[in-house]
């Protein structure tokens, strides 16, 4: 990665303010994803919801707001979209209370 940022042990951004579109492209590339418009619609929605509500959203909420069916989100971010979206969008890992 050319942009130097800190991530935690699982690859999530340590500091939300480090996020930029450039960084997202690099993070996506490392995860094997080339970002297109449809990816950005999903990522921007996830970022907006997290910033409003303080927690990383579930796929159903992202799907409804971005008008992208959950099946299509799986095509855009194969192998675990919830985690991939959080990593690339620079928002916290979706968690429970324990």
């Amino acid at each position: 990665m050319t942009l130097a940022v800190q991530t935690d042990a699982e690859g999530y951004l340590a500091n939300k303010d480090d996020w930029s579109e450039e960084l997202a492209k690099e993070l996506a590339q490392e995860l094997g994803i080339e970002l297109g418009d449809d990816h950005w619609k999903v990522l921007n929605t996830a970022r907006a919801i997290e910033s409003e509500s303080g927690s990383s959203p579930g796929l159903r909420k992202i799907s409804k707001r971005s008008e992208t069916p959950i099946k299509a989100i799986y095509k855009l971010f194969p192998d675990g979209p919830a985690k991939l979206i959080a990593k690339i969008a620079g928002i916290p890992k979706p968690k429970s209370c324990l």
């Binding site: 409003e52 509500s53 303080g54 099946k71 192998d79 985690k83 890992k93 209370c97 324990l98």
Partner: protein, 417 residues
């Protein structure tokens, strides 16, 4: 006469009504709107399927839970007009308010998953988040003779986020007592990346899954229930077969809010995390499970919010500013089976840490650690709920979280926050 109108008479709404009634003069009317005539002690629903709790002990007539000086409008809310400060109801004149408190909770939505309500519902597919569901599951478990028992969280957020895992632990105990544990595969399927998602909890509690022989299917986002083949299928085409499925369906806020400007895509109400004011409105607040806050949807959270919001309401009535007092404090017992439980205490910023509760260094209840004392305290809490929490009598637990006596370095050592 001025009015505080509370939508919903569940845990948050009922406690709020009593709390604020005690603090305000008779110039104020305190009213709740709720069409249902029963109040369910929801933590009891976890025990009911195993026959360890009875309907009689966890359900009361609503009118017996509402004290003197509280008006109960037994009807359904049809529309909320925050400009004119009026709530329209199905039965009766529109209700006007000076302050509105939304406490309409959350409901499970099995209808949102393809196939969930088809042939298997309440035959081989059960929920335990409703009284009917928990009762049907009690019968379903009683006739279960072994096979694959799958507990599946469809999607977060859900009420009482640890209840599904508690259910798995209690099922292990129940099946052992019935002598069919060795004939049963116990599976926990979760949309998250583990049964425990925080480093400290995974490190300190991972043994529970291993010792009890519980299989965990991670990042499983249920797309459909195939009731003919008895499998749940994820969006990425993985299948988990079941003989008995205990599902925790998606949750939404009240339907009315889902369809109105007040709710988000899932009907949860965008709420200020510290003042509990509903964003973009005046004189409207939201408490309990109905909010979109990252705090747990749990009775303890509702209780702490009631304490803090009632103080804030008095400030506003006195012409003062709201204070950002709520910190996301949550305090939950976690049943781990075989007569033991844990206690966890956390807020927006601090994950559950080891220590003692409620008195630092003394306890008597240990935090983030299994103990018989915690199990007995959880069972005793039903009495506290009916006699302390709902009527809003003082309970000696701080509404904000304390770090005193907690092992602060534990999380860092586990690689967490």
């Amino acid at each position: 006469m001025k009015t505080i109108l509370i939508l919903g008479a569940g845990t948050a709404g009922t406690a709020m009504a009593h709390k604020i009634r005690r603090k305000l003069s008779s110039d104020w009317e305190v009213a709740v709107v709720d069409p249902s005539t029963k109040h369910v002690y929801q933590p009891g629903l976890l025990f009911l399927p195993f026959g360890d709790e009875t309907e009689a002990r966890i359900v009361r007539e609503r009118d017996s839970t509402l004290g003197k000086g509280i008006t109960w409008h037994r009807t359904e809310v049809k529309a909320i007009d925050t400009e004119r400060r009026v709530v329209e109801v199905a039965d009766g004149e529109p209700l006007s308010y000076d302050f509105l408190i939304i406490a309409s909770g959350t409901e499970i939505r099995p209808d949102m998953i393809d196939g969930m309500l088809d042939g298997g519902w309440q035959k081989s597919v059960f929920d335990f988040y409703t009284l009917e569901g928990a009762k049907a599951l009690q019968a379903g478990l009683a006739s279960f003779e072994g096979g694959r028992l799958v507990v599946n969280v469809v999607e977060m957020p859900i009420k009482c986020p640890v209840a599904p895992l508690e259910f798995v632990f209690l099922a292990d105990w129940y099946l052992t007592k019935r002598g069919i544990r060795d004939k049963t595969e116990l599976v926990f399927a979760t949309p998250l990346d583990g049964a425990f998602t925080k480093p400290l909890a995974s490190k300190t509690l991972g043994y529970l899954l291993e010792d009890k022989g519980i299989q965990v299917e991670t990042e499983f986002m249920t797309g459909e229930v195939d009731a003919e083949k008895n499998v749940i299928r994820s969006y990425d085409e993985r299948e988990v077969p079941y003989d008995l499925l205990v599902t925790i369906p998606p949750h939404t806020g009240a339907r009315l809010l889902e369809d109105s400007d007040l709710g988000d895509e899932l009907g949860f109400v965008p709420t200020d995390p510290h003042t509990l004011a509903v964003k973009g409105t005046e004189r409207v607040f939201c408490i309990g499970d109905a909010t979109d806050l990252p705090s747990s949807k749990a009775g303890s959270v509702a209780h702490f919010q009631v304490d803090l919001l009632s103080e804030n309401l008095l400030r506003v009535i006195d012409g003062k500013e709201l204070e950002p007092t709520f910190d996301g404090h949550s305090n939950c017992f976690v049943e781990t089976g075989h007569g033991k439980a844990m206690l966890i205490d956390f807020n927006y910023d601090t994950e559950p840490l080891p220590g003692h509760f409620p008195i630092p260094h003394i306890g008597p209840l240990p935090l983030l650690k299994e103990a018989r004392r915690n199990h007995w305290a959880k069972l005793a809490f039903r009495w506290v709920y009916w006699n302390g929490l709902l009527p809003a009598r003082p309970i000696p637990i701080s509404p904000t979280m304390s770090l005193a006596g907690k092992q602060l370095t534990a999380a860092a050592e586990a690689g967490g926050e």
